[in-house]
């Protein structure tokens, strides 16, 4: 995490000089202290997340493909004759076996990113989802994204 923050700082500056590096190191040290004090950061947790980077890249690629498919459906819905009559919005409860809060937040965000479904609230073992029509509800039930998240969550 400190290395990532420092790289971000260098990217924002676009040049490597002494004053940039000194300011960056001081800011990164303060931020790391703050994160370990209030954000629950530790080296062990960093290692756990670093081991999941390959799985996470696969997850993101899968998410982008699903977004494109759902977006085409959404565009067809918007450009259809009577969009207000052809949709059937509903709020459904979707049970999820994800245990950690990080996993549930990732699931909620990926549901919200897919057009057609919005996460309204996150409960202990379920998420409440507003789906715009039947097709969005079906895609929610058999999504490969959740299985990927379950695999990534093991041992966290």
């Amino acid at each position: 995490m400190p290395i990532l923050l420092f790289l971000l700082w260098l990217v924002f500056n676009e040049r490597i000089t002494a004053d940039v590096i000194i300011t960056g190191v001081i800011a990164v040290l303060i931020l790391t202290w703050f994160l370990s004090r209030f954000g629950g950061w530790s080296l062990k947790r960093d290692g756990q997340f670093a081991a999941r980077i390959p799985a996470f890249i696969g997850f993101v690629i899968n998410l982008i493909i699903e977004m494109c498919i759902a977006n085409i459906h959404m565009i067809a819905l918007v450009l259809s004759d009577k969009p207000n009559e052809s949709i059937r919005p509903a709020i459904v409860k979707h049970k999820t076996p994800l245990k950690t809060s990080v996993g549930r937040v990732a699931l909620a965000n990926s549901i919200t990113l897919t057009p057609g479904t919005i996460t309204v609230d996150v409960g202990d073992n379920c998420v409440y989802v507003h789906a715009i029509d039947e097709r969005a509800r079906k895609s929610l039930e058999n999504s490969s994204l959740e299985n990927k998240l379950i695999n990534m969550e093991k041992g966290l």
Partner: protein
């Protein structure tokens, strides 16, 4: 090579602009907040990604490319949180929610 970059970049940018346009049309065609969020917030995040990828093809040095990638990442992190909060407030405060959509179970 230059021509190839120009063509691919233009295709990405125009796809993104098309999705932006459709999202704006959809914003006016739907009637209710929760239906509007679907097009307004989500199509935008994909369109912004397309535009950022398209702009990456036009920049020659690595600095702007990394910056565009960071912009796309932050849009993808913040956009779902913002639309989630809008929908949560709407569901919690609207008393006539049943008129607008079928409610199976409320939080």
């Amino acid at each position: 090579m230059e021509l190839f970059k120009l063509i691919v970049g233009s295709v990405f940018i125009f796809t993104g602009l098309f999705i932006f346009g459709v999202a704006t049309i959809g914003l006016f065609r739907f009637r209710y907040v929760l239906n509007r969020i679907h097009v307004a917030a989500k199509c935008d995040s994909l369109a912004a990604l397309f535009v950022c990828v398209g702009l990456m093809f036009f920049s020659s040095s690595p600095g702007p490319i990394i910056k565009l990638a960071v912009i796309a990442c932050f849009i993808w992190l913040t956009n779902p949180v913002a639309s989630h909060l809008v929908s949560k407030i709407e569901v919690e405060t609207n008393e006539n929610l049943e008129d607008e959509c079928k409610v199976e179970e409320l939080p």
